[in-house]
């Protein structure tokens, strides 16, 4: 599936300044593998020592939190736009 991934500013130094990456991947697992391969320096920022997606990294597909779409089981559709957003901010209390 052809998808695009938005890279947050903080991580663009690891993607050669690239803010948008187009690639082909069937799901999140594959996507991370593709990114690992393309940008080896990015890997430790997205995965922890055990290779799991970092706890404070939120992944959105077409602006929906991927956890509402089935998480790692979600099958990417052609043209999906993926956002990597650090988990920050909070409104009240």
């Amino acid at each position: 599936m052809a998808i695009t991934v938005q890279i947050p500013t903080a991580l663009r130094r690891l993607t050669g300044g690239n803010g948008k990456v187009s690639c082909s991947a069937a799901n999140v697992g594959e996507l991370l593998s593709v990114l690992d391969q393309q940008f080896p320096e990015l890997k430790p920022h997205l995965r922890d020592e055990a290779g799991q997606i970092r706890r404070f990294l939120n992944i959105y597909v077409n602006e929906e939190d991927i956890r509402f779409l089935g998480g790692s089981d979600y099958a990417f559709q052609d043209g999906d736009e993926i956002l990597l957003v650090p988990s920050i901010a909070g409104g009240c209390a």
Binding site: D48, D65, L83, V85, A89, C92, A93
Partner: protein, 421 residues
């Protein structure tokens, strides 16, 4: 050399002082850490008590530069015993910490914004911004006006009218987003990435969050420099509850109070309960939810500090509960009718959950227990609409009043019955 700096909460890397909230290395949140050795030399109860009665009396324990001069008194809200509410719960030692009257905008958010804007000034921003469920919007708008910042405020489009008006009146630029708070929040993370603004709860978040500690400092000082047995705290993003715990820990570390364990209890609305659900099921991370509750100030389905809130509650020996929207409204009325405090929906959540915690014997009747009331009922009057009937007017004649009084005495419910069932 400043007495505080940012450190990664997970990998410990030091980041100095700058507008940033995440560690580039491991994507984890940053937290302000202090030189406690140095602080122990200077801080004492007398030094604090001799200062003006506002949150700046704890300036030593906040991320504020040495040349910071506050121009707005914020915080130091009343803490008082709540005997009549306690009676309802079968309790004897219950206190209210009343941030419904926090100045300038009647919620505890004034505290965090005060610290955030001090740092926004330090970093040279001329524009401040936030994503908000309402109270934060009010606080940023008001304090931006007072401090001479431009303000951009991002809110979910369906916020309570009083919170919308209470933002616009200060001249802030309001952006209504057709979506949930979690979507507003995600959008703000993206906007903060592109615009050189001081987003109080994005790039200024570590500083901002420290302001919440003053709730904990005040509770301890107002109890006579001692810690309570329990606190009950409403949870949205989960930051306040972790910062109250941090405040208690710091007071112990600095020798300002006798060390003692405090059980920390979290309160949510059932319609948005990712943190209380995780506590109850034993998970260490939250499962995000789509909020559906009248407690809109707590309607965050993907709480950024959820993980830490769960940890704080569990490690303290506390618990988390959640209550229905119906119980939220009943609890707002109960607090008003027993103690004369009119709180917003978040306060209803706290009171409602406290009742459950007493019923479950998780809080015992004679333990010193503090309920954190974080916002004012005048901002969420819409949830009470239909609950009170407008009385038929009488003519301005003593005889008509006497007749009314007679009816009221014979049938007290006719006048006194205020809750529509």
């Amino acid at each position: 050399m400043s007495h505080y700096e940012l450190r990664c909460r997970e990998c410990g890397k030091a980041w100095g002082n700058q507008p940033r909230s995440i560690c580039d290395d491991c994507f984890s949140p940053l937290e302000v850490s202090y030189d406690y050795e140095a602080l122990r030399e200077v801080v004492s109860p007398e030094r604090i008590s001799n200062r003006a009665p506002n949150m700046w009396r704890y300036a030593d324990l906040l991320p504020l530069s040495d040349d910071f001069h506050p121009i707005l008194p914020v915080g130091f809200t009343p803490l008082f015993q709540a005997p009549q509410l306690a009676k309802q719960f079968g309790a004897t030692n219950l206190f209210i910490k009343n941030d419904a009257v926090c100045l300038p905008t009647l919620s505890f958010k004034d505290r965090v914004v005060a610290v955030a804007l001090a740092n926004a000034r330090n970093f040279g921003f001329d524009t401040v911004a936030c994503s908000s469920t309402g109270n934060l919007a009010n606080a940023v708008a008001a304090q931006a006006a007072r401090n001479g910042f431009k303000a951009w405020i991002f809110i979910p489009a369906d916020l309570e009218p009083a919170k919308v008006l209470g933002t616009q009146v200060f001249g802030a630029k309001l952006v209504r987003i057709a979506g949930s708070y979690d979507q507003v929040n995600r959008l703000c993370s993206q906007i903060a990435d592109e615009h050189p603004w001081g987003f109080v709860n994005v790039n200024l978040r570590p500083y901002y969050a420290e302001g919440s500690k003053t709730v904990g400092f005040e509770i301890a000082e107002q109890l006579g420099w001692r810690l309570p047995d329990n606190v009950v705290v409403p949870m949205a993003g989960g930051s306040l509850i972790t910062k109250i715990k941090k405040a208690f820990d710091e007071l112990i570390k600095l020798g300002l109070v006798e060390p003692k364990p405090v059980r920390i209890f979290g309160a949510q609305a059932t319609g948005c309960s990712p943190i209380s659900t995780a506590v109850k099921t034993g998970e260490s991370d939250i499962e995000p939810q789509k909020p559906a509750t009248i407690a809109r100030s707590l309607a965050i389905g993907n709480p950024a500090d959820g993980h830490y809130a769960i940890k704080t509650i569990r490690e303290s020996g506390g618990w988390a509960e959640d209550v229905s929207d119906r119980a939220v409204v009943d609890s707002i009325q109960l607090l008003a009718q027993t103690e004369g405090v009119f709180t917003e929906t978040a306060g209803g959540v706290t009171v409602g959950c406290a009742r459950k915690l007493y019923q479950q014997d998780r809080i015992l009747p004679d333990e010193t227990t503090v309920l954190c009331i974080t916002g004012n009922g005048l901002k969420t009057t819409d949830v009470l609409s239909g609950h009170y009937q407008a009385e038929e007017p009488i003519r301005p004649k003593v005889a008509e009043f006497e007749a009314l009084l007679q009816r009221a005495t014979e049938n007290p419910d006719e006048i006194r019955e205020t809750v529509e069932v």
